[in-house]
């Protein structure tokens, strides 16, 4: 049993508080840098689909700079707690592999390494962790997103509920061997595992160095006071918001295992500026379903919390302190975070999570102009599929990886046009986009086309991201397997306060003869030589009426080929002369 430290109260000055905050942030950034530079799979070293954080000994999130929001706002706490509950005898030198959505992880593809940090007497003081989306996690099919899996058994991922993977800083090779037997391209997984453990150990080393310099009591005092500071900042921010409530819904397209019209998520937002509390109620939603879309508790909570922070100034830290002012209600057994083992949560970080974040951020905008966001585009154009096959250039060596060729989807904000490459709501633009050249170098395929589409933006006072077109297929005499779980072919991103909706997602197979065949939402397809995948990413919704968009911006959009003159006139009420100048008189008439 790890000994409990005696809890003294040290009081820190404002300067030390600021200094230590930066130091902890720096630790997480350093961990992230190690992972990016040394990861082996494209999903880590190209797309940067990972996060790093520090949690307190009480399992509260302390710092997580530059992490993917959906990975860590809630979940860090739950995972660290599971580690302590399952292993009352944690020791220095331990590391734990955790990917169980039933024990706080986001979804099984997100392997997480937790390293508890100890003082010299063996008392547990903090936990650092690294979470990275794997190229493969041993699912029954070569994809990390099993949208149609009836349950965890059909899904097939090998589940690690905080399993000890290192003791005395050495691997427990039994666990490594299990992974090598069940995860495709095992040397790629092992390389990523090394990078993750390396990053976590660097985090541990840094925290220990801080403890040497400041003493544990100071660090613990920092935790307390930093949380209090963050809560104070959050209270100040909420007190500036209007009192109010709004209910919004969002519907995920059907996939096997859902009702024929898909899944509707209802979210109820309540701002109480007197008590300085924000409540997001997710209880009024269906029970878990026999598919892979069910949300883990971590993802459901985070999806709602993210939307809250979009209406809070960026200066308010996102940690356990500010989280005290947010209440996310979840119902046992519910698809939104209440599912139990063996419910499959294979796709929990993206599809349905976005169907929580999107209406929640839109609900804020319904309460007052200036708050919230329009909806972000739903995810999984086939340009973000998991590809696999054999590479004829390297003696048919097998490969599997998620590519990030083109996503867009950015929602319009109250005063700012969309951030183009937001990827999807839960990602918030943190992932990278692949270089065509690097992808073509690493995989036997060719990217024929990648471009942004005219007249596809979510119209509005501020605009949502346009749709992105991407076409790719195998090169040489080889097949290419592509798997994805698309949402948004039917239910696109909603605009808000009069803003237009985002473009729909579309995925096609281009036959050898050039003909296009629309592909279903949830697909695992093997392309033959000469065949191509064609993918249109989902656009984001607009904010506010398009006719209130500043005229010079509309003109710029036309000049730059984002929209046609016709759209400028029909949707935005801006007329241009043949030479391209604004026709002021006609524009006034159109906008009347």
């Amino acid at each position: 049993m790890a000994k409990k430290a005696t809890r003294k109260k040290t009081k820190l000055d404002a300067v030390t508080l600021a200094v230590l905050n930066k130091r902890f942030e720096a630790v997480t950034i350093k961990m992230a840098n190690t992972l990016l530079r040394t990861g082996r799979s494209g999903v880590l070293n190209l797309a940067r689909d990972f996060s790093t954080s520090i949690v307190t000994r009480d399992c509260e999130l302390l710092a997580g700079a530059e992490s993917l929001p959906i990975h860590h706002l809630s979940g860090a706490d739950l995972m660290a707690r599971a580690m302590l509950d399952l292993h009352p005898d944690i020791k220095p030198g331990d590391a734990y592999l955790h990917n169980s959505p039933y024990h706080g992880c986001s979804h099984p593809a997100d392997h997480t390494i937790l390293v508890p940090v100890f003082d010299k007497k063996g008392m547990h003081r903090m936990t650092v962790w690294v979470k990275a989306h794997q190229a493969d996690c041993g699912n029954s099919q070569p994809t990390t997103y099993m949208g149609h899996a009836r349950d965890v058994y059909e899904e097939g991922a090998i589940i690690f509920p905080a399993v000890k993977v290192q003791e005395n800083f050495e691997d427990i090779v039994d666990v490594i061997r299990m992974c090598e037997m069940r995860i495709r391209v095992p040397e790629q997984w092992r390389g990523d595992y090394l990078a993750m453990v390396g990053a976590a150990r660097i985090g541990e080393r840094e925290v220990l160095a801080m403890a040497d310099e400041y003493g544990w009591e100071t660090l613990h005092a920092f935790e307390r006071e930093w949380f209090d500071y963050s809560e104070k900042a959050m209270i100040a921010a909420i007190k500036k918001l209007p009192n109010g409530s709004a209910t919004a819904t969002s519907r995920h397209d059907p996939v096997p295992g859902t009702p024929p019209d898909g899944i509707e998520i209802t979210t109820k937002v309540k701002i109480d500026n007197k008590k300085a509390m924000i409540e997001v109620d997710l209880t009024d939603n269906p029970d878990a379903m026999p598919c892979g879309l069910n949300l883990s508790e971590g993802c459901a909570r985070t999806a709602a919390m993210m939307a809250v922070f979009y209406s809070i100034p960026d200066s308010v830290p996102t940690n356990a302190g500010s989280f005290r002012r947010i209440d996310v209600l979840i119902r046992d057994g519910c698809i939104a975070g209440g599912g139990k083992h063996p419910t499959s949560m294979s796709v929990a970080t993206t599809n349905l999570a976005d169907r929580v974040t999107n209406p929640t951020q839109r609900a804020f905008s319904m309460i007052k102009d200036g708050l919230g966001l329009a909806e972000a585009g739903p995810i999984f154009p086939a340009a973000l599929g998991v590809i696999s096959g054999k590479d004829p250039r390297y003696n048919d060596a097998p490969f599997v990886n998620q590519i990030f060729l083109l996503d867009t989807g950015g929602p319009a904000a109250p005063t700012t046009d969309a951030w183009l490459t937001i990827c999807h709501a839960g990602n918030s633009g943190m992932c990278f986009i692949d270089s065509v050249e690097l992808d073509e170098l690493h995989f036997p395929f060719l990217v024929k086309e990648r471009r942004l589409m005219v007249d596809t933006e979510g119209a509005g006072r501020t605009i949502g991201a346009p749709s992105g077109y991407c076409e790719y297929g195998p090169v040489g005499n080889t097949d290419l397997e592509v798997a994805y779980v698309a949402d948004g072919a039917i239910n696109n991103a909603k605009g808000t306060r009069g803003g237009g909706d985002g473009a729909r997602i579309q995925n096609y197979l281009r036959h050898k003869n050039g003909k296009l065949q629309e592909l279903p939402a949830c697909e695992d397809i093997i392309l033959k030589p000469g065949e191509n995948i064609v993918s249109y990413s989902a656009g984001g919704g607009g904010y506010g009426p398009p006719k209130s968009r500043p005229v010079d911006k509309v003109k710029y959009d036309v000049d730059e080929g984002w929209i046609s003159r016709k759209r400028a006139r029909d949707i935005y009420g801006v007329a241009l002369t043949p030479s391209g100048a604004v026709d002021e008189k006609e524009t006034r008439r159109l906008r009347r």
């Binding site: 390389g191 990278f432 986009i433």
Partner: protein, 687 residues
């Protein structure tokens, strides 16, 4: 005689090395509308100081090394040429989509960056080359000629051409280049595979776009400066400082002006390295250049000036990537002008906002009401209000006190002195963070290293920074206030050649790799013979860009030799890689194959002598300085503090608390620290 001239935002610095090897510092106001005027003013100032005419001074100068922020300023203010972007058919949005990535996921107030070249000036060119260099679709010349006709109609002033896989097969780009010369004569263009043969199309396209957009104006600027210097009798060599920390002939730079983006700041590490070696015999040092608004830091390791593959104009992900390695100088918004403020939660911040030159710190009395680091130093008694910039500018201590009291002390319920001290401490902390990013984050422990403090404001808290980092020594060179110009005097002529060639530790292609290396050697030798002719000496360094199998971010691996002779040579390179990987990333993977992706050879030609001379005493302090004054130090309170004049200090150590002043800088020696002066004129402080 040699001249080194650095045009900064406020001042144009000129450092003159006379024929006896003594060095002289001069300053003139920068003239942004016509920077050449400011340069000639600085030449006049030097001529006056040395009792010569402008013509005499120039006629006697054998070289003129120039650093300027002209290129970067043009980019930042949007004054570059109207440039078109020619890209592969089907891939028009490379400059729009970029590589994704974002800072601050909850911040929706920052707009998505606009492409460096607008979409309206982007044109798709037929043809496609695959990853193996094979042409999968041919280039249709008629289509290209049509595109060029469009460029003419749009009155394009420069053209950037970046086609997919041109690094492996440049035929299509060359073809486009020829057509441009024929159908759009006189309009400068840049081909991506010629300028910057790197993988990753966004980076290469961004380099190409930036370079092409600078060509017209940099040709004009360099031509104009050259003409006006030559007119007045200058017959020596004209050299420009580059982002890579070397110099290039004006004519070569006009062909690839992108290399002048970091011209200036890139010299600080060179100068810093020199002083670390000269003054304390160290080859690893942290170099910090403190100006009014920015704090530039870099780390010299084992005598090697640090390079970064990721140079950005503006913020990472929000700005534009340069796509070239450059001297790794990290810049943060911190300096004498950084503003201190308290937020709603009661947390003190310093910067990144700066009071700038206008209105400036509160104590300047030019209408600034926000407390700054300079105000804090003044309140603490570290700066003498009567001797700022050698007494040419009087400071108002009362205004500084009011600003700090109202904006910091009262909200935090602190005394005035504690508040001023806290401002300095937090400014110190910001600077420490910047240094930690280039040290700790790169796996280097700053403890025990040397800190070189350059820039006019370096002396205010360098001792505090050094203590916080555990540095063993602080060096404040006497030339520190013009560190970049000083670096220019000792900079090398250089050329960097690079080739892609895959090889692996498990099946090493000895013949192929050696061929690439020997080609690089030939190019280096040609350079040494050509532009490097007459150099004092020259060298070639070799690097492999390598990673473990499936990693995609390379580590720069210095090679012991320029060829591989035996299997043992390969094994040694592999071991060196493991060691380098462990040093940076805390682990090695000896079971994994190591892949060598790119090869580089760097030719360096030393134009200058071995070192810098001492600073001549061209200025005498007017009026007598107080011998001591009250200064406040955290933990000690207000104590009587001795004041010394920098120029007349001898080698006898001075114990802190003390203040050492010159017309260019003020150096604070905290209690417990000691300072001595070296032969080169620098201060060496043991913090």
């Amino acid at each position: 005689m040699r001249l080194a001239c650095d045009t900064g935002g406020t001042f144009t610095d000129l450092v003159v090395e006379d024929d006896r090897g003594q060095v002289h510092m001069f300053k003139a106001a920068t003239t942004p509308a016509d920077p050449v005027t400011g340069i000639l003013d600085s030449v006049d100032a030097a001529a006056a100081g040395l009792a010569l005419t402008r013509a005499e001074l120039l006629a006697r100068s054998e070289s003129f090394v120039h650093g300027t922020t002209h290129a970067i300023n043009a980019i930042i203010t949007g004054n570059t040429a109207k440039t078109a972007f020619l890209t592969t058919q089907g891939h028009p949005d490379i400059l729009v989509i970029r590589e994704g990535g974002r800072l601050e996921p909850f911040n929706f107030l920052v707009p998505f960056p606009k492409p460096y070249i607008p979409r309206a000036l982007t044109f798709e060119v037929s043809g496609r080359i695959g990853a193996d260099g094979k042409v999968t679709e041919t280039l249709d010349e008629a289509q290209v000629i049509k595109v060029i006709a469009g460029l003419k109609r749009k009155k394009v002033e420069a053209v950037a051409v970046c086609l997919l896989w041109s690094t492996v097969n440049g035929a299509h780009e060359k073809q486009v280049g020829k057509l441009l010369e024929k159908h759009l004569p006189g309009v400068p263009y840049t081909l991506s595979h010629v300028l910057n043969p790197i993988l990753r199309e966004y980076r290469r396209a961004s380099s190409t776009a930036i370079d092409a957009s600078l060509k017209p104006m940099m040709s004009r600027y360099l031509g104009g400066l050259s003409d006006r210097l030559r007119e007045t009798g200058f017959e020596g060599r004209l050299l420009m400082l580059t982002s890579k920390g070397g110099v290039m002939d004006f004519a070569d730079l006009a062909e690839a002006p992108i290399h002048s983006i970091g011209s200036g700041p890139s010299m600080a590490p060179l100068a810093g390295r020199y002083f670390a070696q000269t003054d304390v015999g160290e080859d690893t040092a942290i170099i910090a250049d403190t100006g009014g608004t920015t704090y530039d830091v870099s780390l010299v390791r084992r005598g090697v000036v640090p390079m970064t593959p990721e140079t950005w104009i503006g913020q990472r992900y929000r700005g534009h990537i340069v796509g070239f390695p450059s001297v790794d100088v990290k810049s943060i918004g911190a300096g004498g002008g950084s503003i201190a403020w308290v937020d709603e939660g009661g947390l003190l911040h310093v910067g990144p906002q700066s009071a700038g030159a206008v209105p400036g710190p509160a104590c300047y009395g030019r209408g600034g009401a926000e407390p700054t680091v300079t105000d804090a130093s003044l309140v603490l008694g570290h700066i003498d209000p009567a001797f700022f910039l050698g007494g040419t500018m009087k400071l108002d201590a009362k205004r500084a006190e009011t600003a700090i009291r109202d904006k910091v002390a009262k909200p935090l319920k602190m005394s005035l002195m504690d508040a001023a001290s806290a401002i300095l401490r937090l400014a110190t902390e910001n600077m420490v963070n910047a240094i930690e990013e280039i040290t700790i984050h790169q796996g280097l422990d700053p403890r025990g290293t040397v800190l070189i403090g350059g820039g006019g404001a370096a002396g205010l808290n360098s001792v505090a920074i050094a203590r916080r980092l555990g540095c063993s020594k602080v060096v404040i060179p006497e030339l520190g206030a013009t560190l970049s110009a000083a670096g220019a005097l000792i900079s090398d002529l250089h050329a960097d050649f690079r080739a892609l060639h895959y090889s692996s530790s498990t099946s090493f292609d000895m013949k192929g790799s050696n061929k690439v290396l020997s080609d690089l050697t030939k190019r280096c030798k040609a350079f040494i013979k050509g532009p490097g002719g007459g150099a004092k000496n020259s060298s070639i360094e070799y690097f492999a860009e390598a990673h473990y199998r499936s990693q995609i971010w390379e580590i720069d691996l210095p090679l012991r030799k320029g060829s591989f002779k035996t299997a043992a040579d390969v094994a040694r390179a592999r071991e060196d890689f493991d060691a380098a990987h462990e040093e940076v990333f805390a682990y090695r993977d000896p079971d994994s194959e190591v892949q060598f992706v790119g090869w580089r050879a760097v030719a360096r030609c030393r134009l200058a002598g071995k070192g810098l001379g001492n600073l001549a005493r061209d200025f005498e302090r007017s009026g007598s300085a107080a011998k001591s004054r009250k200064a406040y130090f955290a933990g000690k309170g207000s104590v009587s503090t001795k004041v010394y004049e920098f120029a007349s200090m001898k080698s006898k150590p001075v114990k802190g608390p003390a203040i050492i002043e010159s017309p260019f800088t003020t150096v604070v020696i905290d209690p417990g620290a000691t300072a001595r002066r070296t032969k080169s004129g620098s201060l060496v402080i043991t913090p």
